[in-house]
Amino acid sequence: MNAKRDETKQEKRMMAGNAACVEGALAAGCNFYGGYPITPSSEIMNLMARRLPATGGVFAQMEDEIASIAAVIGAAWAGAKAMTATSGPGLALMLENIGYARATETPCVVVDVQRCGPSTGQATRPAQGDVMQVRFGASGDCEAIALAPWSVQEMYEMTVRAFNLAERYRTPVFLVTDELVSHLHELVDLSAETAVLKRPETRGLPPFGDSATNAPTPMPRFGTGERLLVTGSSHDEWGYRKTTDPTVQRKLVERITSRIAGDRNEIAEVEEINTEDAEIVLVSFGFSARSAYAAMRPAREAGMKVGLARLKALWPFPREAIRRLGDGADRLIVVEMNLGMVRREVERVASCAVSGVHKNTGEPISPREILRVIS
């Protein structure tokens, strides 16, 4: 860890969420971007095109999203801290290779700026409909990591965190934002402490994890004489393809899933506000959590014991926190711009009544709509 506080960046600056994401990526050491334009993520790409070459990094505009994530993974194996950004339809094209990144333990960051689907849908309008796509979109068993910022400041900080988690677990990490958070303009403190994980240079270790502990080994890179065998086919810790060996397959899946599932509580942070005495807990994330937050005050003023649990990560799902909140409250109300994706997860673990405020019309949920359900 190399903790730094950049004294030159002390003043707070007004910027958009997508711009803060770029600043966060650069602070985290991102030196490769591969992408394809899509609203509402394109500003990330446009900014990267200018900022990356100036900082010694490499920018690649690819022919489609399949190629974008492929280039990101290729660059990561060549030694890059690499990322891409897209929206729902582009993410759909990336998923096969995201599955490949998981199977090959490739660290990288994928930003998904959600827009209103299905299909091309409302390209300029916000939604939160990719919750399940990031979790289950690729084939096979896996664990996903997906962070969910609700402010421009968090667009910065969580991008840094996404890079660090990608390095630590050697896996692709999603930053799942939405049109509103990405296009919001707010004051950002770029001098915030950023601890950046460095990739250690090691030689001769098995490239694909320690099968005794399932911990990742340091990410190696091409061109160092390691003669790396990298394949998405079922493989042992040295990369040898063994596609009919049940033990090799079991160990591979165990390796890539248990290290994330095992740290679920640490990865899946939940910010709790007024939950100690709450009879009703609003569960939300991203921009919708701002609406929930805004609804909480008038509700409290009207004498209702309302709290907010804001999911800072969607995956791994913060099961334990939600279970505990459900045990203490009468009702959990999930607030999200989709027809019930997180609610489905909440219902699976909560012992109390669960309902939701759902909207997928391309408009944010208003605090009034939430109040109507609370009272």
């Binding site: 690649a60 399949i66 190629a67 660059a75 790396l228 990298v230 394949t231």
Partner: protein
């Protein structure tokens, strides 16, 4: 003749290869390694990228260098990312016709247009060998495949014409029936600064030969000798190939 020892480039623990008896991919594998040896390239600085298919197994896991065995059709953009981030690496893509031209055609044309400094070696056995001999975009008109039992009603791609049309500066095609010329073409492609493309016409006796009245590898090699005629860049670009023939040569 002084035969170079290519064993040093192979992972002995994975030999023999999984290819069928008489498969042409082994001849191409040999040609690539001899070309590398002749050029004296530093094997540890080479990255071999492949997609999915029998041809994609030529480098992975056999080559004792860095290998990236990717997803079906996508080796070129993986290679592009690695090369752009570390231009010092010698990056070579080796994969099949189904992989590079059918599902991955979009990446091929863009890499050629971009002139990214990689070498793409395409093993064209005119069929999807691995999945059971289905039609590819490189299957000649009228050929029988698992999915065209009455014969292919479509026409095939001339992939060298395609690469030249996209601006590739180094394009060649030879068959495994002419390994010396094939090797020379691979050497020149590996030496070339910029995007280089070699189409290696090869044979799949198991899936293509059997269905098209050439059940033995020998018959398939004979057929390759028959259909290949020397051609120039201009002839390839003009697309005026005589009926049933294919132009071979270094076209740039």
């Amino acid at each position: 003749m002084n035969v170079p020892d290519i064993k040093k480039y192979l992972r002995s623990e994975v030999m023999p290869t999984p290819f069928c008896k008489g498969c042409g991919h082994g001849i191409l594998m040999h040609a690539v390694l001899i070309a590398i040896d002749e050029l004296g390239m530093e094997f540890d600085n080479m990255l071999f990228v492949s997609g999915i298919g029998c041809a994609a197994w030529i480098p992975s896991p056999h080559f004792a260098a860095d290998t990236l065995h990717t997803t079906h059709g996508r080796p070129i953009p993986f290679a592009t990312g690695a090369k752009m981030f570390n231009p010092e690496l010698d990056v070579v893509v080796i994969s099949g016709d189904g992989d590079l031209v059918s599902i991955g055609g979009n990446h091929l044309i863009h890499a050629a247009r971009r002139n990214i400094d990689i070498t793409v070696i395409m093993a064209n056995n005119k069929v999807y060998g691995m999945t059971g001999g289905q039609l590819a975009s490189t299957t000649p008109h009228a050929c029988i495949t698992s999915t065209t039992p009455e014969g292919n009603p479509e026409r095939e791609f001339d992939t060298c014409r395609l690469a030249l049309g996209c601006g590739a500066g180094c394009v060649a095609r030879y068959s495994v029936a002419e390994p010396v010329k094939l090797r020379r073409a691979i050497r020149n492609a590996l030496r070339y600064k910029g995007f280089s493309y070699v189409e290696a016409l090869t044979i799949c006796p198991t899936q293509f030969g059997r269905m098209n009245k050439m059940p033995t590898p020998f018959q398939m090699i004979e057929q390759l000798r028959e259909v290949c005629v020397p051609g120039t860049r201009e002839q390839v670009m003009a697309g005026d190939v005589p009926e049933g023939k294919v132009y071979v040569g270094e076209f740039s």
